[in-house]
């Protein structure tokens, strides 16, 4: 079953065509890593998929709901009610967490389930505490975001996204704002989620991580999908020259 389907997505900022005809679908339980040089459009792709950015043209589906339809070369968005249903299907973990600073850790996690999904406070709290325990943060429920390290804040933001029970979770460079010694704890959380067959799309620079955790890797450059395929095969043995150059450059940096 396809959780997400993007067809012929086009997006320009003024004269700059950031995304040119991107098509991508993600099946239930699949982990897709999106890699590519900075400025290639991978974050814009995520922002279009999560409707933080409006696309110029293309189709966008979540499960059986169509959020965006292409009509005469223009993107037409569905009614607010349908968009709301589509939004309920996905979560997004931001590069810089975007926790609500005036809410405690627990309130950050349970407020949307209570005030958006209209769930019972006890039930949402129970799930939140369970998620915090899995993140190793059960003792931080009453702390405020500023009291936490970047890695802890990012784990809270993952718990916040998960507490809405999304069908698919997007990550926008989840470790890029963290000190190098803190990236490991986030990658471990994502690895655990992958083991539980959580459907995920991860924009990342951590090639080694993508190779081990993702089922599929999509390489984007200049707003186009240059190459995609099985994670290990693509990273160990890229076919396209640009992919080869990109991976070579990253390896050199790591050495």
């Amino acid at each position: 079953m396809e959780v997400l389907r993007i067809e012929h997505l086009k997006k320009s900022f003024g004269p700059l065509a950031v995304l040119q005809d991107i098509s991508l679908s993600v099946s239930q339980g699949e982990v897709v890593a999106i890699i590519g040089p900075s400025g290639s459009g991978k974050s814009t792709l995520l922002r279009c998929a999560t409707m933080l950015e409006t696309m110029d043209d293309g189709n966008l589906f979540y499960l059986d709901k169509q959020a965006v339809a292409s009509e005469n070369g223009q993107a037409v968005y569905a009614s607010p009610a349908v968009l709301k249903e589509c939004r309920a299907q996905f979560g997004l973990v931001f590069q810089n967490f975007n926790l609500f600073p005036h809410y405690s850790v627990l309130k950050n996690i349970i407020d949307a389930p209570i005030s958006v999904q209209k769930r019972k406070k006890e039930e949402a709290t129970a799930q939140a505490m369970d998620l915090l325990a899995r993140m190793g943060l059960q003792d931080k429920a009453n702390a405020y975001p500023y009291q936490l390290s970047g890695g802890q804040q990012q784990r809270v933001s993952i718990a916040r996204a998960l507490c809405l029970n999304p069908a698919i979770l997007f990550f926008d460079e989840p470790t890029s704002a963290l000190d190098p010694e803190l990236t490991g704890e986030i990658l471990k959380v994502i690895r655990d989620l992958a083991a539980e067959e959580m459907t995920m799309v991860i924009v990342t620079h951590e090639i080694d991580f993508a190779r081990h955790v993702a089922d599929r890797v999509v390489f984007i450059a200049d707003g186009q999908i240059v190459e995609q395929g099985d994670a290990k095969a693509l990273i160990d043995n890229p076919q396209n020259e640009r992919t080869k150059a990109f991976l070579r450059r990253l390896q050199r940096e790591e050495e």
Partner: protein, 216 residues
């Protein structure tokens, strides 16, 4: 006139000053939020009407605005002014003037909230009004407390401008006493009153700021 009689008159004036102060805040704080919304509106016309409104309110003296609000109905529309309108005019003039200042403070506060907060709220499914009232507004209040304190303290002193249309607030009374008694004493007492009033205001605002410092 004995000292105690003078004091009693001044206290009476103080109560009127406090009434002006409190009513102005009650009306101008919410009105300022509406003006700020208008100022940030997507609609060109509304945005520019608010821009002009703020520009006039900030660009002309409050005393002049007060005189216009008080005498305007008579000179412009020929409506005779009742005695009770004096006080009402003060509240109207002060409220629309302070709303303009508060609107700009609110706008600065709202625009200081990182766009990531709106994006996180949107992805979590909050509606526009939920996003504003649950996420943006509480953070804005924390940001704007220092400039709001400034305005509130200025307002305490500005209540004395009501003397220009002879509303019997403290300054008007102090002025009357001073000229009839040929003594500075009433001014000294009034000055003390204003200072104590503002000291209390500053202390209260500081306490509110402290209460909001549970997060950064």
């Amino acid at each position: 006139m004995s000292f105690s009689v003078m004091l009693a008159q001044l206290v009476q004036g103080m109560l009127t000053s406090f009434e002006i102060f409190a009513l102005t805040l009650i009306f101008s704080l919410p009105l300022g939020l509406l003006v700020a919304f208008g100022r940030m509106s997507r609609f060109w016309l509304l945005r520019n009407i608010m821009r002009i409104y703020i520009s006039i309110m900030r660009g002309t003296p409050l005393m002049l605005q007060l005189l216009v609000v008080y005498f305007g109905p008579y000179y412009i529309f020929g409506i005779s002014i009742s005695a009770g309108y004096r006080f009402v005019a003060v509240i109207i003039a002060f409220s629309i003037n302070y709303a303009a200042y508060f609107a700009e403070i609110y706008r600065a506060g709202i625009e200081s909230i990182p766009v990531g907060q709106y994006e996180a709220a949107a992805v979590l499914g909050y509606s526009r009004s939920q996003t504003f009232f649950k996420i943006i507004f509480p953070q804005m209040v924390k940001h704007i407390l220092p400039p709001v304190t400034n305005e509130v303290i200025t307002l305490v002193k500005d209540t004395s401008l009501a003397f220009s249309i002879a509303v019997m607030e403290m300054f008007t009374i102090a002025k009357t006493i001073a000229s009839s008694q040929k003594s500075m004493l009433a001014y000294v007492a009034a000055g003390l009153f204003y200072y104590v009033f503002n000291f209390i205001v500053a202390t209260v605002m500081e306490a509110i700021e402290k209460k909001m410092s549970y997060y950064r």
